[in-house]
Symmetry: C2
Subunit: 164 residues, 2 copies
Amino acid sequence: MSRHQQAPITDPKEQFISYMRGLGTRTVLYQHGVASTLGLYNQDYLSVDILREKGPITAGELSKLTGLATGSTTALIDRLEKIGYVRRQNDPHDRRKVIIVPAYEHKAEVSHTYHPLHTAMLELASSYTDEELALITKFLDKASTVLEEQIYHLHAASQSKTSS
Amino acid sequence: MSRHQQAPITDPKEQFISYMRGLGTRTVLYQHGVASTLGLYNQDYLSVDILREKGPITAGELSKLTGLATGSTTALIDRLEKIGYVRRQNDPHDRRKVIIVPAYEHKAEVSHTYHPLHTAMLELASSYTDEELALITKFLDKASTVLEEQIYHLHAASQSKTSS
DNA sequence: TCAAATATCTCGATAATCAAGATATAAACA
DNA sequence: TGTTTATATCTTGATTATCGAGATATTTGA
């Protein structure tokens, strides 16, 4: 995906931001591609990704994180449960809550889709010194924190919009 | 979004990859949040993003990049055209082709959603020396290239799967 | 104890998306 | 030059994700 002819960015910080955006778009497209490869809808694959990171969470938490209505989340979980990617479990502390437990580790096709990017990223990491890699990793951590805050504010804004 | 209790990652390269994944998930969630704020479907917002980077492209190219069927792409373009985000233009070199021209720059609400993240990223960039920022920017460039290659391979695989 | 709040699922309506097909145009071939 | 094949985009009917409202069960707070 080539960039069209805009005014060339000369400020290093603006250039940095432009590359962050480019990486963002490719990330989304990559995830869509993996979802399609696995025969999953985009939100289904995103949920797999969330569960991979967070481990077992409630249906309601998944609904909040994905931004889906609770009914859509139920349907999504049904789909994932049907193909063996998750299972539902009762919460012994709160009988209203349903815990969604990831179960896709046993699914070879899931790790199979991760593998090529994993290898390519290992190779990219290998091109840096230990110090450089540490700097980059720390940067990724900080960038993630920035995005989390932005996501939080977007949600807060839509909450207050809803109640007004 | 906190990480659940996995075995702590000790290898720096594996840690790097883990943070890349975390950033990826937040990126997708952030984009969904912005789309929702703008009242756009996720694919609509992604298309705005693609057009922002690539400038005017044909309907078919947009279909390929988003992975949407051509009919869905037509409907998507209809929606964006309806709210003034894009306009259709004939290609003088090939009368079959329709060029999709971005027109959302005039839409204040679009730049308004970019603004908070832009500011936060400027601030993050400011915490680095010139050399560090250059290293990070170059890294982002390379990571994007890796993702592009992976996207390409995913598409190639699904093409060959289709024709078999 | 009762009322209010919370969690998840059910349900009917809306609309995105798919695949097949239609139509116009361009490229390739005889 | 004319015909056949390929390409580009839109149309169409079917499928299904998603929404918002509502139902039911459980928990919390007064």
